[in-house]
């Protein structure tokens, strides 16, 4: 029981504060969610630490690691990151050409950020997948991160209004009864409008198998942050502080367009 006590205390101390206002999100937003045209295969990725819905920034220290997983291999992209400023806050970006078919999953592991007001560290393992040239096999395969959301709905083919399901893993095991915070990112320079502050961040909980479901009410980028505490502690000013572990996944929901009339003579399979 004594093992769980610090976890419980940290949950009480740390997580409720995150609920009170808009949530912190590690952000990893690519310029394209899917690449089918080689002329658009040069992807820009923006990395930041943000309140997505409100478009309010925080400084993102140079990440501890930044990698891309593709066709069974990984590539370290940390050295490619370029520092920049947005709203006066430190952000990072890079470009990467997607030069072969397959799923490219980008993962950022930030350095732990100490939030004084919450008296805990925040560490969000952030990932996003890009389907290149029609091949996204492996989208439901865990990468083996400390904590991660493994999609159970194919992220490369989601319309607004579809159910998105995911499984939260913590140290490789399903994380039951875990809160998953969800925010819409309206885009750079845009702020979402909510009826009241309590509706900026939505929250769902995982079931006994670590599975959650959510229906995005409109198209755009949506961030899912599954928050856990496995008892990890980090020192701050001579004291051990809890660490909020976040498994963050960014998913793009698309608008279902109106159909177009196809002349019968041209009728071929898509």
């Amino acid at each position: 029981m004594h093992i769980f006590r610090p976890v419980l205390v940290s949950m009480l101390l740390c997580l409720p504060f995150a609920d009170a206002a808009e949530a912190h999100f590690g952000m990893l937003i690519p310029s394209e969610s899917t690449v089918m045209d080689p002329r658009k295969a040069e992807i820009t990725l923006d990395l930041k630490f943000w309140h997505p819905f409100a478009d309010e920034g925080m400084d993102l220290e140079r990440p501890a690691s930044f990698k891309v997983y593709h066709n069974g291999g990984t590539e370290d992209l940390l050295s490619t990151l370029k520092e920049g400023k947005e709203q006066g806050h430190t952000v990072w970006s890079t470009t990467r050409r997607l030069d072969s078919p397959g799923l490219y999953t980008f993962v950022m592991e930030p350095k732990p950020y100490f939030e004084k007001e919450e008296d805990c560290y925040i560490l969000h393992y952030t990932k996003v997948g890009i389907d290149a040239f029609g091949d996204d096999e492996g989208w439901s395969v865990p990468l083996g991160l400390k904590t991660e959301i493994v999609p159970l709905s194919r992220p490369g083919a989601l319309y607004a209004g579809n159910v998105f399901r995911g499984r939260v893993l913590l140290n490789g095991k399903a994380a039951p009864d875990t809160e998953v915070e969800i925010e819409w990112y309206p885009g750079k320079g845009k702020r979402g409008r909510a009826p009241h502050a309590g509706m900026v961040t939505q929250t769902v909980k995982t079931d006994e198998n670590g599975i959650f479901a959510y229906v995005a009410p409109r198209a755009g980028w949506w961030g899912f942050a599954a928050l856990s505490d496995d008892g990890t502690r980090l020192p701050f000013a001579g004291q051990e502080k809890p660490v909020e572990l976040g498994a963050v996944l960014w998913v793009k929901f698309h608008e279902l367009m109106n159909p177009e009339t196809v002349p019968q003579a041209r009728r071929t399979s898509p």
Partner: protein
């Protein structure tokens, strides 16, 4: 009670005969369905990239299911046919780089109405070559690509003779249809006999 028994007795012979055609119908659906599902459940994709003096295409339904024996056409930006090829067991077929540059369109036809296109812009065509990734145990280029390389005029490349035959799933699907038709015939015959 007697009437009831008589009705039941009347139904019995029909019930005994019915399972034969029904079973055949079921089997036919099972066979033909299995053959069709594999092709129609997946969209087909094609990707092209420069590979030294050639442009190589790969076509697939999935990472494991490549388009084998699929027809691939290379057209210029105006839609003029420059070359044809047939994919090998890894879904790959290569073409010589046509003279004149410009955008190139590659079209794969993979049966059952499966068709996909890929536009290779001229700007991308000048990019460094990278070999297509193919599954272990599969070769990177087949007979068609060798023939394409042998053709200095980059003209129409004849399909290899080995690819003209039906694929295994076509054979199984055809057998399913035959069994199904036989089932329908047997069912109709049984109805006629009963009447």
């Amino acid at each position: 009670m007697q009437a009831h028994n008589a009705q039941a007795a009347d139904r019995r012979p029909t019930r005994r005969r019915a399972p034969g055609p029904a079973l055949l119908l079921f089997l036919s659906l099972l066979f033909s369905g299995a053959a069709v599902t594999r092709a129609s459940a997946h969209a087909v994709f094609i990707y092209a990239r420069p590979d030294g003096e050639r442009i190589c295409t790969e076509s697939w339904f999935s990472k494991k299911v490549r388009v084998q024996g699929g027809e691939v056409s290379m057209e210029d930006a105006q839609g003029k046919l420059l070359a044809n090829g047939v994919t090998d067991e890894a879904g790959v077929v290569c073409f010589p780089v046509p003279a004149g540059g410009g955008d190139l369109r590659f079209i794969v036809r993979a049966g059952q109405g499966h068709r996909a296109e890929f536009l290779l812009p001229a700007t991308v065509g000048a990019a460094p070559a990278e070999r297509p990734e193919v599954p272990a145990g599969a070769s990177r280029s087949g007979a068609a690509s060798e023939k394409a390389g042998d053709n200095p005029a980059y003209g129409i490349v004849p399909a290899p003779s080995g690819s003209d035959g039906p694929a295994l799933r076509d054979i199984i699907g055809g057998a399913g249809w035959l069994v199904g038709l036989a089932g329908i015939g047997a069912f109709a015959a049984s109805r006629r006999k009963r009447d």
